[in-house]
């Protein structure tokens, strides 16, 4: 069995769903702007733009900051929904058992079929924000920021895969039916600094933010937002940090997800 066929299965499913359900496609296109409005609203409700600049300590445009945060927040939400939420969605429509009897480990099936959707939606999201970023930063700086954002979104996906697989196995094991993700995701984003820089959060909240992979992805995006020219040292440091977290989360996921799957299979969660 080739994993590339699984990747194609995921892509095929998404293309069919978009083709046959235009309302879903249109709402997907509108979604980034709605989230931007929400994040801008929440971010600005903590203080006005000048106090924001003062606290962040940089000459940074809050709009650019929040566009970057929105893009990364969307990508992070997408990974968590795409993998963990997939368990709930497929359980609701009854396809879960048929997905699970694919001749792979359950976590492999869920993750690999999801990756094309992530790349597709990330590409669409960045495409949607491209005019805004270019307009505010000019062609040269805007292109650099778009490149760093794409890098952040792509590298940021890897630790999130393990993180979401852990969450998915937890949902399977506890036979969760309710939409836990809808209230957990905003909290994760808040602790990760999507609404306000994580380093300005209270001490106890920063402890939580350190263990969330989204914190570093958003930090990378934030770097992109205030960069006038690429600060390669900072970017390399963050990419290295994300690579380390990727290893930790995916290794943990590999060990824990197997146990979660076994528990779910023992209790008849499918």
């Amino acid at each position: 069995m080739r994993l590339v066929t699984l990747l194609k299965a995921g892509l095929t499913l998404d293309l069919y769903l978009f083709k046959n359900n235009r309302a879903a496609f249109i709402s997907m296109l509108l979604w980034p702007y709605l989230v931007l409005a929400l994040i801008l609203g929440m971010g600005l409700s903590f203080g006005n733009p000048s106090s924001f600049k003062q606290k962040v300590g940089m000459h940074i445009d809050p709009i650019v900051y929040f566009v970057a945060s929105t893009f990364i927040a969307l990508s992070s939400l997408d990974v968590m929904w795409g993998i963990s939420g997939q368990i709930l969605f497929q359980r609701w429509i009854g396809t879960l058992p048929y997905t699970l009897i694919a001749p792979y480990r359950t976590s492999v099936t869920l993750i690999v079929t999801y990756i094309p959707r992530y790349l597709l939606s990330t590409f669409i999201n960045i495409l949607e924000f491209t005019p805004l970023i270019l307009l505010m930063n000019g062609l040269y700086q805007g292109s650099i920021k778009i490149a760093v954002l794409l890098l952040a979104a792509t590298i940021g996906m890897f630790p999130l895969l393990g993180f979401s697989a852990l969450f998915a196995s937890f949902l399977l094991a506890i036979k969760e039916e309710s939409n836990v993700l809808s209230w957990i995701n905003p909290i994760i984003l808040m602790f990760s600094g999507a609404f306000y820089p994580a380093y300005l959060l209270p001490y106890w909240a920063r402890l939580i933010s350190h263990i969330l992979p989204t914190t570093y992805t958003i930090e990378l995006a934030r770097t992109a937002a205030w960069l006038g020219s690429p600060d390669l040292t900072h970017i390399t440091f963050l990419v290295g940090l994300l690579a380390g977290i990727t290893i930790v989360y995916n290794l943990t996921a590999y060990l824990v997800v197997g146990a979660g799957e076994k528990k779910a299979m023992k209790e008849g969660a499918f």
Partner: protein
């Protein structure tokens, strides 16, 4: 891996399975309850046969099917599909089985029948022209092409079409063993008949081994080469349908169609009949009334018929029809399980 015997497609040995459920007590309290779903289930399914797992609701049919499909782990016991252990070699088992667990759900509503099959085909490792060809073949085989339904959205399908698509998916990887859980559940009689004919054709013309669960005795009788009767998590009989019927060849079936007055409940009536006759009995809703069925010896048919008729008269039930019939699989089931419909 079990040393494979060419004649055994499925082997189940002493399978046990319990579920833990919790009964809510107040806001935070709960009582733990252990439900034994399987208590030492053992059977073999021969290659190329249609094997029926027959039992009432809650007998353990779906649990058995889920264990064989690698979706559920047994508490103890062993099961093999084509020699592969369903617990330790789950991935290998998944490569040789086709599964249908529910005819009503299990597909993406916004995809057409063909698109659903293409997606699941890729999920199961097929690709390219081979997949397209196979999808065309199975759509044709299950009759969806003839019905012009292959490119309709799944959400527009009738239950009969959904059932056909479910069988089509089970056939997709051209599996040697098909595991189908209640494939005709909820279907109208013509659709159920067509699907049964299709399953027989698949088994006998395509050489597949088909394990099918049902609580429909009539279906088991016409569809299956052999059946296992399962009740309360135990196999109570296993044989060819003819041989099972032979076991009660010395019995006949007394069937009475009756209408009940509004103040009489079916359960109280049936328990009175059971108490008076001392015989296992079954009751079915039929033609606006109820068909009472008692398996008896031909010698005592006269005596028991008068006894039951008298009882019905005392309960002010009108009798529409009385018949004495040759035993059917349904009668074997009643005799073996003492099962009542209510």
């Amino acid at each position: 891996m079990l040393p494979q015997s060419s004649s055994k497609a499925v082997v189940a040995r002493k399978l046990t399975k319990s579920y833990v459920t919790y009964l809510r007590r107040g806001l935070f309290g709960r009582d733990k309850k252990v439900v034994k779903a399987l208590e030492g289930v053992s059977f073999d399914v021969n290659s190329g046969e249609v094997f029926g797992l027959l039992g009432p609701n809650g007998a353990g049919k779906t649990t058995t099917v889920k264990i064989l499909s690698t979706l559920l782990l047994p508490d103890s016991g062993e099961a093999y599909v084509l020699g592969y252990d369903v617990v330790n070699e789950a991935v290998k088992v998944r490569r040789v089985i086709g599964v249908s667990l529910s005819v009503e759900r299990g597909f993406f509503w916004k995809l057409t029948g063909r698109e659903n099959l293409l997606y699941f085909g890729m999920l199961y490792g097929m690709d390219g022209n081979r997949l397209k060809r196979r999808v065309d073949e199975v759509l044709k085989l299950v009759g969806l092409t003839t019905m012009g339904a292959e490119d309709k959205l799944y959400e527009e399908y009738s239950l009969g079409m959904k059932a056909r698509l479910s069988v089509a998916r089970a056939l997709l990887i051209d599996p040697e063993v098909m595991i189908l859980d209640e494939p005709t559940l909820g279907l109208d009689p013509p659709s159920a008949r067509t699907l049964r004919e299709l399953l027989v054709k698949i088994a006998h013309e395509e050489g597949k081994t088909v394990l099918v669960t049902t609580h429909n005795m009539f279906e088991a009788e016409i569809l299956c080469d052999r059946v296992a009767i399962i009740n309360k998590g135990r196999i109570v009989a296993i044989d060819r349908v003819k041989a099972l019927k032979q076991k009660i060849a010395d019995r006949v079936s007394l069937e009475i169609l009756t209408m009940l007055p509004a103040d009489i409940s079916v359960s109280s009536l049936i328990s009175s009949i059971r108490k008076e006759t001392g015989m296992p009995s079954e009751v079915f809703a039929e033609n606006g009334g109820f068909r009472i069925k008692i398996v008896i010896s031909p010698k005592e048919s006269g005596e028991i018929t008068s006894l039951v008729l008298k009882l019905l008269h005392n309960h002010k039930c009108s009798v529409k029809r009385v018949e004495i019939k040759e035993p059917t699989l349904e009668d074997v089931f009643i005799q073996l399980t003492g099962k009542t419909g209510f």
